[in-house]
Structures are given as structure tokens and as C-alpha cells.
Symmetry: C2
Subunit: 426 residues, 2 copies
């Protein structure tokens, strides 16, 4: 394999013609494929169909006076006992530090940031503190950025390394008391798949930001979402925070969206006693309670964390071949050309592809023109602006393997074609 | 029957001794009864048990490629088509003016007020407009008041008449541009059971408040919750608003909390095209979607509004005798004494009892001491302060009839005892 940068202009021109021909052949197929979101495929949804039978009217016939009777009625604001217990076990925190809500952890994060804006996270409401800022390891999750952007919180990008955010930069930035928080996907990060190392977690946990009301959104969305037998290990953030008396700095979120059903799962948070009190005080006004029957449905279906782990093995058996297919295609088509790098995650939902600087948008356009939708290029950076225009988030979960292969082959051609166009224009 | 006010001091003293004796006899029973919240009873919950069997894994086996397949996955932000159609029919508005969310309409109201605070209801964010105010017909719903109080919105009480709020007062108050909205429970109002008359609805619909961003929270919680064969008729607010080009002024809310399960129902709102756009723009950031399987479960169980009406007849058959029992006891024990008035609603969840001015709190204390919990006295007024200390909200739905009878008998004794104490102290 010869790197593209060493090609002569004439060689590049020849290559361009070849690639254009291949591209046109794909385009002629009239594809309509979607690799844009980390959405489980139909085969994954089938894995959890039993959840739909986990509770029936019989549960209340046979047990008319049972303890679960009142799960149909109002009350139990912060979630049912049995469901808290499972999340407590999963997150390895005491059950009294857990709140279980509806189906969306994103909604819980949104609500928490909203609470901070309007009534503060412990000090003055954020809305009254002028222009405030949030750190966001990049590439990162566009829906985190969107919440901050919605509230006019200025997003400060931080480089995401293989072991987590660049902590030298973070430690520098938190000296600014306008910096109020940070978004983190600490395990199988969206989109790079990186897991924060023990050292990074330790440096995060011991931070003393200038802002006393600094809060970390610890979005542990992929806590148990392995793809390989070699799994990443993430420190329990609350254990480490405790060492430094810093438990109030982090709110941890997770959900069963990619365990049971994305549209009908259960979401939870874990937080310090102080934060639980503060969050509950708002919830008391916000609602009378979340859907406790769906919480109970999950309890009856999974029973415990071991039950969740059994289901996650089935998800893995479906997802791993899809990830492998994409990575094999990248290895076969792009390796050694000096125009692309990609991650090989042990878990999560994404592969992060870095193409030749200045060509990512063009790759997205070429794919789209030929019928393959990628995650909007740039979306992995705040304000949708990738300063180097090189990162593309690949979401292999949704399409069936054959479609995925077709889409990936096309993608590789587009990556090469855009690179050649770029090199020829220089 | 002789009115208490015409009793001599000596007669009152004798009466007091008798009442105290009766009261002590109740106290000795060690009761533990709850009439505090509008919570359906166990027999009502059983009415909807079939909902738990409405969808099962079979729905996806037999129909693997069916249109409802994706209800398990992400997406469909504003609710599934079939569920919107039912709410559209129930509220008598076009389906495109409906948003279906999770299980709590209170949460949707909270979210809407939050949106108004942070980003405005069309003009400047409410948080940036200094001290703003809300009108609240009183007695009213404490959880409405709580939302406004939480955000520091000043609550202005408006007298609630038998045909709705005192519109002369309302029309005067909305000349103040700091008055940004009003809470309404227009049908079978909480707690008086009154339904807004056609004239009141018309006067509301044609209001031109000084505040251009004035919004009415039209909480149609008891839209179909009849107790009698004679039912109240409420005008469709959006039809009337249309006449005056005022559709943006009202957001209507409802839910199945008291149709299916309070803890696991489905909530919806109806609003103008402008408001739907504005609310959706926030939802896009807030969540990826609500629990669509629970929406689908409700669709399959009820099928249509006729299906809901069938279930509401069962609720009525359980609730009506409870209301009758309370009202009969009031009629038998309190009529003609000049110390109490009570409503006889055709629907809803409450009876509003007005006792002798200055004695409601005392009645609440006496009841509590004897083991019967009422809705916190004062809760039906902003800031929990009933200026005349006379209103008590009675919630007959939760206790079984025999317990309800016992509690009501005790309540009547407490009403009389507190009145006698008051008269003696004057």
C-alpha cells in the first residue's frame, strides 16, 4: 500500500477516474441506507420481546392485596424499591442514592440542567451568572451539546484522547469560574468508544473547580454494553469522589434504552445525598410520579443485574458481527493509505472514523448523494463545527449486515474520492 | 333544624359536651383513614387491568414487519399516530394539534411553564420580565399553585363561582401586563366540581390581555369523568378561541390518569399550530421520545373514544355511590345548621365543603387527631392560605364505602364541634 500523499498528480488523476467510476456504480443502485443514529436493529428489539409479557392482569388477580398493587396508582415519586435496587447494583451505589424515572435519561439530563439554570446547582441559578460555559470532550455526543446550546451555555471543546478527555486542558479550564460543568460519556464513549482510564477518573474526581457549583453529567449510557470478550473497566466514580470529599460534583445517568427497548425503557440517575435532595425537591413539583408499571415490568423481566447481563450477551452476539464487518472493510480498503484512522471499540454503539482533514463534509455529501445517510458530519463537535473537518461517526447497529456492508464499501470509496479531490486541489 | 347562630350560650355549651363525647368515641376507634387526594380506589384500578394484557410479545411475532414495529425503537417524538387520533377525538381538535407524551399531564404543564420561564411563550422569557403574576380561580388545585410558587410567579386569587371564575375580576386583572396567565380546570373543577358556563368560556376566549404572551393552562383533567346521568357540558375552547383569532392563548392538557392507571397512563396536550411548533422545538432537545409502547397499549385497549366511555361508566358505577354517601351524610348531619355548605358535582373527583369561617383549620386538626387525613386545609388557595379559613376539599374516591362513611361521620362531628367552639369564643 502506498500512501496517497506520495502519489504524483498523474497517478491521482487516474485514481480519481477509477474511484468515480466505482462511485457511479453504487449511485446507480439507488441505495437508501441509514447509518446515522445509534439505534438498535430489529433483531435486537426481538431480544426483549419477553418484556411485553413480564406483567399481565394475572399479577393483580392472584395478588390482589400484594405490595405491588399500588404501582398502578399515584405515588412513589422517585421510583419503586425493586427497580432502584437493580440500578443501585448496576451502578454500584446505595439504593438511596438512586432515582428511577421514565424512559429517557436524556430527558433527566435535560431536566437537571434546566434545574441548574433556573434554581441553581447549589449556589446562584446559572441563568443569573452571566455567560456560563461547559466543557465537552470532542468528538462527543451531539444531544449533550444541544442541551447546552439550547440554554445558551457556551461549549468549550476539550480533546478526547484514548484514555478520556485531555486532563491537562480540563484542569486549566476549570480555573475559570464561569465554567460550570462538563459532559462525559465515560465508558465506550460516543463516538470514539474510549473508556476513561483509572488515572483520568482519579484526576476528574479530585478536581477543585473555581466554580463551587460545577457539575459533571456522567452519562454512563454504555455501562454494560460490551462488544468483545476483552471489556473495558471503568472505575466507580462515586468511590473515587468519596476519597476526595467531592461527591456533589457528579450526577450519573444511565438507562435501559439499549438493554430493553429504546422507546420504552427505564432511566435512572445516581447522585450524592445533597443532590438527591435537591433533585427530589424539584420532582415533587414536577410530577406525581413516573410510570411505575414499566419499572415493575423491567424488574420482573430481568430480576437482577445477572438477568441484564444475560440479555446483553444476546445484544453482543448481534452487534459484534456488524462492528467487525465495518472494521474489516476499513482495514481492507483504507489501511496504509494515510487518509483515514478508525477506532476498534470493545463496546458501545459507534466507530469513530477520522478521514483526511478537510474532507469529512465532502464524504458526507458524497454518501448522501449515493443514498447512504451518515450522522451529520460535524455533529460530534459543539455547534456542529469540526475544526479539522475530519470526524465521522459510524453507527453500525441499525442496518442488517448485508446493507451495512454495502454502505461501508460505498463509504470507503467516498473517503478515498474526497481525499483524492483534496490532494489534487492543493 | 335550628341554626347554630341562634343557640344561646348555654345551649352551645350542652351541644359542645355532646359533640366532644361523640368525638372521643371516634377517637377511641384508632382510625387511620385517608381522604386527602383524588386517588382512585383499588376497585377502580381493577377496571383497567385488561390494559396490562393489551399488548404482548405476540403482537410482534405475528406482525414482525408491521407498522407498530418501530414503537419499540427510538423516534416519533410527539406521539404515535393512533394515540394522537384518540386524544384528538376526545378533545375535538385536529390530530396535528395534539402532542402525546408520558404518563403525567402535570409534568407537561410543569415543562410548559418552565419553557415560558426560560425561553418565553412567544415574547421575552418570563424570567426576564421582573415579577410576573398568574391568576388562579380559588378554591383551586394545589399542584397548579405549586408550579407557579416554585418559579416565584405571584399568584392572584380569583373567586371561583358556580359557572367558573369571576370574569369581571379576571377582565380587570388582565389589564396588568405582568399578569401572564391563568390556571383553569374548566370541567368538574378541582375542588368545587363546577363547570365553566358557555358565557364564561366565551368571555375567556375573547380576552385581550395587556400581556401579549399571556397563556391559559386549560387543565381538562375531568373531561369525561361523569358521576351523574345529568352531565355538564363544556364548550370546546378551541372552537370559541377561533372565533376571536385567539388560539395561541390556551394550552389544553388532559390524561388517562383517572381513566386507565394513575401511575401508568398517557398524557396529552392540544394547542395552536404556533404553540405546537414552539413546544416541539423544545421537546426536540429534551428527549428522543416518550414511551410509545404505553401509548400503543392504550390504543389497543380502548380502540377509540367509545371504548374510553365504556370504561368511564364502570368508574362512575364505583364512584357515584361514594359521592352519594358523603353528600347524604352532609345532608343528614349538617343541613340547616348554618355552619356548612357543600357542592354536589355531576363529575370529577372532589366535593368542596365550606365550613364556618375561621374553623377549617381546626376541623382539619380535629380530624387528624382522630385518625382521618383530609387534604391539607388551605391547600386549595395560593400559598396554602384560605383568607376565610373555611374551605375543605373532600376526596371520596380512595377509601372503601364503609371507611368513607366512618370518616365522613367523624368529619361532620368535627365541623360541628369547631363551629361551636368558634361561636362560644365570640
Amino acid at each position: 500500500m502506498k500512501e496517497y500523499s506520495s502519489y504524483t498528480k498523474a497517478e491521482l488523476m487516474t485514481l480519481k477516474s477509477q474511484l468515480e467510476e466505482e462511485y457511479q456504480a453504487f449511485k446507480a443502485q439507488g441505495l437508501k441506507l441509514d447509518m446515522s443514529r445509534g439505534k438498535p436493529g430489529a433483531d435486537q428489539l426481538a431480544v426483549s420481546n419477553g418484556l411485553l409479557d413480564a406483567i399481565t392482569s394475572k399479577d393483580w388477580e392472584d395478588n390482589a392485596a400484594g405490595g405491588s398493587l399500588e404501582y398502578r396508582n399515584y405515588g412513589i415519586l422517585t421510583g419503586i424499591r425493586e427497580c432502584k435496587a437493580i440500578f443501585a447494583d448496576l451502578l454500584n451505589v446505595p439504593a438511596e442514592n438512586v432515582i428511577v424515572c421514565g424512559n429517557s435519561s436524556l430527558n433527566m439530563m435535560f431536566d437537571y440542567i434546566t434545574q441548574c439554570m433556573l434554581t441553581g446547582s447549589g449556589a446562584e441559578p446559572w441563568k443569573d451568572q452571566g455567560e456560563i460555559k461547559f466543557l465537552c470532550p470532542c468528538p462527543g455526543y451531539d444531544r449533550h451539546f444541544a442541551i447546552a446550546e439550547y440554554y445558551g451555555i457556551k461549549l468549550i471543546p476539550v480533546k478526547m484522547n484514548d484514555d478520556g478527555p485531555d486532563m491537562n486542558a480540563v484542569e486549566e479550564m476549570i480555573k475559570d469560574e464561569k465554567v460550570k460543568g462538563m459532559f462525559c460519556v465515560p465508558k465506550y464513549s460516543n463516538p470514539t468508544g474510549a473508556t476513561y482510564s483509572h488515572e483520568v477518573v482519579d484526576r476528574i474526581a479530585k478536581m477543585k473547580p473555581a466554580a463551587k457549583d460545577f457539575r459533571i453529567i456522567w452519562d454512563n449510557a454504555y455501562i454494560i454494553h460490551d462488544l468483545e470478550d476483552t471489556t473495558d473497566e471503568l472505575e466507580n466514580i462515586f468511590d473515587v469522589l468519596k476519597k476526595y470529599g467531592n461527591e456533589d460534583m457528579v450526577i450519573e445517568f444511565t438507562s435501559t434504552s439499549k438493554i430493553s427497548f429504546p422507546g420504552a425503557g427505564v432511566a435512572a440517575l445516581a447522585a450524592s445525598e445533597n443532590n438527591i435532595k435537591m433533585i427530589t425537591s424539584r420532582m415533587t413539583i414536577q410530577t406525581i410520579g413516573y410510570d411505575k408499571l414499566n419499572q415493575y415490568r423491567h424488574v420482573k423481566f430481568y430480576k437482577d443485574v445477572a438477568g441484564i447481563k444475560r440479555v446483553m450477551k444476546l445484544h453482543k452476539s448481534i452487534l459484534a458481527p456488524k462492528f467487525k464487518a465495518v472494521i474489516n472493510e476499513f482495514d481492507g480498503s483504507l489501511k496504509g493509505l494515510g487518509i483515514a484512522k478508525w477506532t476498534k471499540p470493545n463496546g458501545g454503539y459507534f466507530i469513530s472514523l477520522d478521514v483526511l482533514s478537510g474532507t469529512a463534509k465532502r464524504v458526507g455529501e458524497l454518501c448522501k448523494e449515493a443514498g447512504v445517510t451518515l450522522t451529520t458530519v460535524g455533529a460530534t463537535f459543539p455547534y456542529g463545527i469540526d475544526p479539522e473537518d475530519k470526524n465521522i461517526r459510524i453507527a453500525p447497529s441499525f442496518p442488517p449486515v448485508d446493507e451495512l456492508m454495502t454502505a461501508t464499501k460505498l463509504l470507503c470509496i467516498c473517503v478515498k474520492l474526497a481525499a483524492v479531490e483534496k490532494l489534487l486541489s492543493e
